[in-house]
């Protein structure tokens, strides 16, 4: 509990940093004042903080939290530490959906909302395929599901290469940049939706905290402990996948968050899901907000894709923690 409170305050600190650092540095004090009491409509500081930074930071918390939560849930039901939201082809499906939209120019004729929409449809189709292919007569086979997911993910990425090989270089540029991920989303409605859905899934996931803990012993033992593992796995799979699908469609493929954050928490605090679920959400939010600060300031005024930062920093921090843990033993 104390750990969660510490992380919550760290998240607040990360948000404050994210709001005050940038091309124009604003003191955290005046940031808080502006958020609470508003500012001059015409002033540049207020414009920057309310219209540019706040949406980005909120989206960072939502997407970082959601991806880590999806990661921790999926690792729990698969009992496989290498599973992350994107292992099962969710990002492949979303990328394919977006690539189809860009190649056909649908976002030009119908509006840019087509990009997240088609991304979500792509992710949803993949989730549906993985789910139905691996269910047999009402029972679901976890190992089958994982393999199916990996295979479908390969097919999706090949299909995407097919699209990229046959399209014009302008479209190619658009697809590649979308894949690299960004928190620069002008549509505030989408940001609110992502935040609400991810918080809702966090709350719902706590209904399953006991079966998740029981599943650590294995599917059979959990069944003997009185949990209907079949239902639990299905519901959690669908929840986590849809959550990941929404994240990818709004902000592109931001890798490593869903894989690394749950591992870091397990290394630091153990594997109790009562702590892990909320902990992953908070730490994921902190990590993504800070990564975004780095992405937009490190080569300022140019901007790096956020996936670059999460991959490098996340991987390094993880390796460091692992080597320290080994030394400790």
């Amino acid at each position: 509990m104390l750990g969660l409170l510490v992380m919550l305050s760290l998240l607040m600190a990360a948000v404050a940093l994210g709001l005050s650092v940038g091309e124009l540095n604003v003191s955290p004090g005046s940031v808080v004042r502006m958020l609470l009491f508003g500012g001059h409509e015409g002033s540049m500081e207020y414009l920057l903080i309310s219209r540019i930074r706040l949406p980005r930071v909120v989206l960072g918390v939502a997407v970082g939290g959601a991806l880590s939560l999806a990661g921790v849930i999926l690792q729990g039901i698969y009992r496989n530490p290498l599973v992350e939201p994107f292992t099962l082809g969710i990002s492949g499906g979303a990328s394919l959906g977006v690539a189809v939209t860009i190649v056909m120019g649908l976002h030009l004729s119908l509006g840019s909302f087509m990009l997240p929409l088609s991304g979500f449809i792509g992710a949803f189709v993949i989730i549906f395929l993985v789910y139905t292919i691996s269910s047999r007569r009402g029972a679901i086979n976890i190992q089958n599901m994982l393999l199916t997911g990996v295979m479908i993910s390969f097919i999706a990425s090949s299909a995407m290469m097919f699209l990229m090989a046959t399209t014009s270089s302008d479209n190619l540029h658009g697809i590649v940049f979308w894949i690299m991920g960004s928190l620069d989303e002008p549509n505030t409605g989408l940001i609110k939706l992502t935040l609400i859905v991810s918080l809702a899934v966090l709350v719902i996931s706590y209904l399953f905290v006991q079966p998740l803990n029981a599943l650590r012993l294995g599917e059979e033992k959990a069944l003997h402990l009185g949990f209907n593992t079949n239902v639990v796995i299905r519901v959690l799979f669908i929840l986590a996948s849809l959550l990941a699908g929404i994240c990818v469609s709004v902000s592109g493929v931001i890798g490593f968050v869903g894989l690394i954050i749950p591992h870091v928490l397990r290394l630091l605090f153990g594997s109790d899901y009562r702590f892990l679920l909320a902990g992953s959400f908070l730490l994921g939010g902190i990590f993504l907000v800070l990564s975004d600060v780095v992405a937009r300031t490190i080569i300022s005024p140019n901007e790096l894709p956020i996936g670059v930062i999460t991959g490098i920093i996340g991987g390094l921090v993880f390796l460091l923690l692992m080597s320290q843990k080994r030394k400790g033993k």
């Binding site: 940038g22 091309e23 124009l24 409509e41 015409g42 002033s43 540049m44 414009l47 920057l48 219209r51 540019i52 930074r53 120019g105 976002h107 030009l108 004729s109 119908l110 509006g111 840019s112 990009l115 990229m164 090989a165 046959t166 399209t167 014009s168 270089s169 479209n171 190619l172 540029h173 940049f177 979308w178 960004s182 620069d184 989303e185 002008p186 937009r296 300022s300 005024p301 140019n302 901007e303 790096l304 894709p305």
Partner: protein
């Protein structure tokens, strides 16, 4: 040994003189939409036998599609018996090598970094296909039009700061050392991204540098949406001055000398004569 060398030199000389200095290509494959446009502009459409599926043809029977943006269908290309392939540095080196091994001459043009480069590439292309005079006439005309367009700028007009956007999500702007920067140079405005070398730019930076003019060079609805997005920032100078414009991306981004001039004319009209 000396005798041999003399004979060899003589033979060499004979061959060089006997061969036509530059056999003019009769069958051309273009691997870049902009070069296809240039060929038409030079009146050499009938020489074109192959192109990419992104080239705009004046009629479907002009040429066959032999390539996508990334991949060339060599068999189809060879069956067209080309004697010249024209392309840009965006083409993979492997593709260029393959054509050379097949005995086809390949002309590779760099992405032009200025209007002058567009012009000199155009003249070079004209020279290579035996239309030098036509090319020079077109360029002379274009330069004359350029001067006339620049005269439209009022002498007492204050210098304004400009941001030219060529990509959305992530935001991408025009930076120096590109031919698009010449739109800014010729329109006597100052690029707010003048210190950048890569076009990816923070939205925040653009707002702080507070341009007086924002030009959105994007196609379709995305352009409209970006324009609305900029218009929602009330404290931006460009919003106060009501100077957020959309520019035809198709015309502005693919560099033929003529389309450059037309796009510039439109831009200067919007900035100074609105």
């Amino acid at each position: 040994m000396k005798k041999f060398a003399i004979r060899f030199l003589a033979l060499f000389f004979l061959i060089v003189v006997a061969l036509p200095a530059h056999a003019q290509p009769q069958r051309i494959i273009s691997l870049a939409p902009s070069l296809t446009k240039n060929l038409y502009l030079l009146g050499a459409g009938e020489l074109l036998v192959g192109c990419t599926n992104y080239c705009t043809l004046q009629s479907d029977t002009d040429a066959q599609v032999v390539a996508s943006a990334m991949q060339v269908n060599y068999e189809k290309a060879v069956m067209l018996k080309p004697d010249l392939v024209i392309t840009t540095t965006l083409t993979k080196p492997n593709t260029i090598d393959t054509f050379k091994k097949l005995g086809v001459e390949v002309l590779v043009y760099e992405t032009p970094r200025s209007f002058d480069a567009i012009c000199s590439q155009f003249i070079d292309l004209g020279e290579q296909i035996g239309k030098k005079a036509e090319a020079e006439a077109i360029i002379a005309d274009a330069r004359e039009r350029l001067e006339k367009i620049r005269e439209k700028i009022p002498a007492d007009a204050p210098r304004q700061k400009i941001f030219m956007q060529i990509g959305a999500n992530p935001l991408f702007g025009v930076v120096p050392n590109t031919f698009m920067n010449d739109f800014i140079r010729f329109s006597e405005t100052d690029n707010i991204a003048a210190d950048l070398t890569i076009g990816s730019i923070n939205r925040e930076t653009v707002l702080i540098r507070n341009p007086d003019i924002v030009v959105v060079v994007l196609m379709g609805l995305i352009g409209e949406e970006e324009k609305k997005q900029w218009e929602s920032y009330a404290s931006l100078n460009a919003v106060k001055e009501n100077q957020i414009y959309i520019m035809n991306a198709d015309q502005a981004c693919s560099p033929t000398p003529l389309s450059f001039i037309e796009a510039l004319d439109e831009l200067i009209g919007k900035i100074y004569l609105h």
